[in-house]
Symmetry: C2
Subunit: 191 residues, 2 copies
DNA sequence: CTCGTGATGGCAGTTACTGACATGAGGATA
DNA sequence: TATCCTCATGTCAGTAACTGCCATCACGAG
C-alpha cells in the first residue's frame, strides 16, 4: 500500500526536471514532448499520463499556492473584514516564494515568451481567484463582494509578483504585496 | 484601391458565421477546421489565413471593446481621479453590449464548456487590462497604481458581465457595472 | 506459485497548424 | 486590346500534439 514506485522512482519529477532543462537550453517550441520523455528515460505516451498536455509540466506548483491560500483563510477569525482576511491569506501565499526569486525569474522568462504558456498561467490565476471567491463566500461574504474581493487580492498578488521579479532591490515578495494592499485602498478611495 | 473583394465577398465573415453555426449545432470539439472552411465554401488553409487558430474565430469582437475603452479614456479630463476615469471608460465599453444579451449567452455557453476557449478569453481580458493600464500610465498615473486600477476596473466589468448573463431581470450591463464600482469602493474601504 | 494490479511501452490514428508553390481573377498600364 | 502584377485562394506535403487500444512486465497478495 505504501510500496512506493515499482519502476525507476519519481517519473513525474524526472519529466518535470527534463522539461525545465530542455526549455531553458533550447527553448519551449523547439522541445518536443518526445524529447522530454527521452531525457527522462520514458516515452511520449507516459508523459501524457502524468501531464494533461505539454504546457502543464510548467505549472506543477500552482496547487501548493492554492492549498496555502485556503488553509490560512480557513483559520482566520470570522469578524475580520473581508479585505483584511484576503490580505493575510494572500500574504501567506506570497511567503511561499521566499528565496525563490532566481527560479521564478527563469520560469517567468520561458512563460513570458510564449502566448500558449501565458494563457495557461492566466487560467491558473483564474482558478485560484475562483477558489478564493468561493472560500470567502463560505465565510459569509455575499456576491458580488466575494468575487470582487478575490479579484482585488489576486490583482495585488500578481502585480506585486511582476514587480518582485524586476525589483533591483532584494525585497521579499511578501513585503511588496503588503504595500500593494495599502496602495489598493488608496486607489479605491479615490486618491 | 477600394476595389473590395475579388472573390466571393466577406470570406472572413462567412468563416465566422459557419463556425458559430457548427459550434452551436454539433459542439466545438466535434467541429474540425476543415468542416468550417467547407461550409464557408473555402479551404482549411484559407481559414488559417484569416484566423491564427481555431479558437480565434470566436474572439473577433474583442478589438471593438478595446477601441471603445481607449477612445473614451483619451477624451476624459486629466483632473479626473483615476478610479473615476476607469469607471467612465469601462461603463462606455459595457454599453457596447446593450441588447446583445442573447447572443452573449450563446457564445458564453460555448466558451464556458471548453478550457481551451476559457484560456483564450482570459488572455483577451489580460490584453485589455494591459492596454488600460498603459493608457492610464499615459495619463500620468504612476505604477503600480495604474496596473491596480486597471485590474480593478476589468474585475468590475467581468464580474458584472457574469451576473448580467445570469440576471433574471433585464437590467443592462452598464447599470450592473455602475453599481459594481460602488461596491468596489465599499469593499476596499473595509466595509 | 499464481494471479491481479498498475505503470509503462508500442503503435496507429486524428487534427491543428505551417511552409512552399501553383492558380487565376481583376485592376492597372501601355 | 494585350500584357503584367497583385493577392486571395487552392493544393499538397509535413510536423507535432494528443488519444485509444492493447501488450508487457515488475511486484505484492494470496
Amino acid at each position: 500500500m505504501e510500496g512506493m514506485s515499482r519502476w525507476s522512482p519519481n517519473a513525474r519529477g524526472r519529466l518535470e526536471q527534463a522539461a525545465y532543462e530542455l526549455f531553458l537550453d533550447q527553448g519551449y517550441e523547439q522541445t518536443t514532448v518526445a524529447d522530454i520523455a527521452k531525457r527522462a528515460g520514458l516515452t511520449e505516451r507516459t508523459f501524457f499520463r502524468h501531464y494533461a498536455d505539454k504546457r502543464e509540466v510548467l505549472f506543477g506548483g500552482s496547487a501548493a499556492l492554492r492549498d496555502e491560500l485556503l488553509r490560512v483563510l480557513e483559520g482566520l477569525p470570522p469578524a475580520l473584514p473581508t479585505i483584511e482576511a484576503v490580505r493575510v491569506a494572500v500574504e501567506a501565499m506570497s511567503s511561499l516564494m521566499n528565496g525563490r526569486r532566481a527560479v521564478a525569474r527563469e520560469r517567468h522568462r520561458v512563460v513570458a515568451a510564449h502566448a500558449d504558456l501565458q494563457e495557461r498561467e492566466l487560467i491558473k490565476r483564474a482558478t485560484l481567484t475562483a477558489a478564493l471567491a468561493q472560500a470567502l463566500h463560505r465565510r459569509g461574504v455575499p456576491e458580488p463582494t466575494a468575487s470582487l474581493a478575490a479579484d482585488m487580492g489576486m490583482a495585488v498578488f500578481y502585480v506585486g509578483f511582476g514587480h518582485w521579479l524586476d525589483d533591483p532591490a532584494d525585497r521579499e515578495l511578501v513585503e511588496i504585496v503588503h504595500e500593494g494592499f495599502d496602495q489598493l485602498k488608496a486607489v479605491a478611495s479615490g486618491t
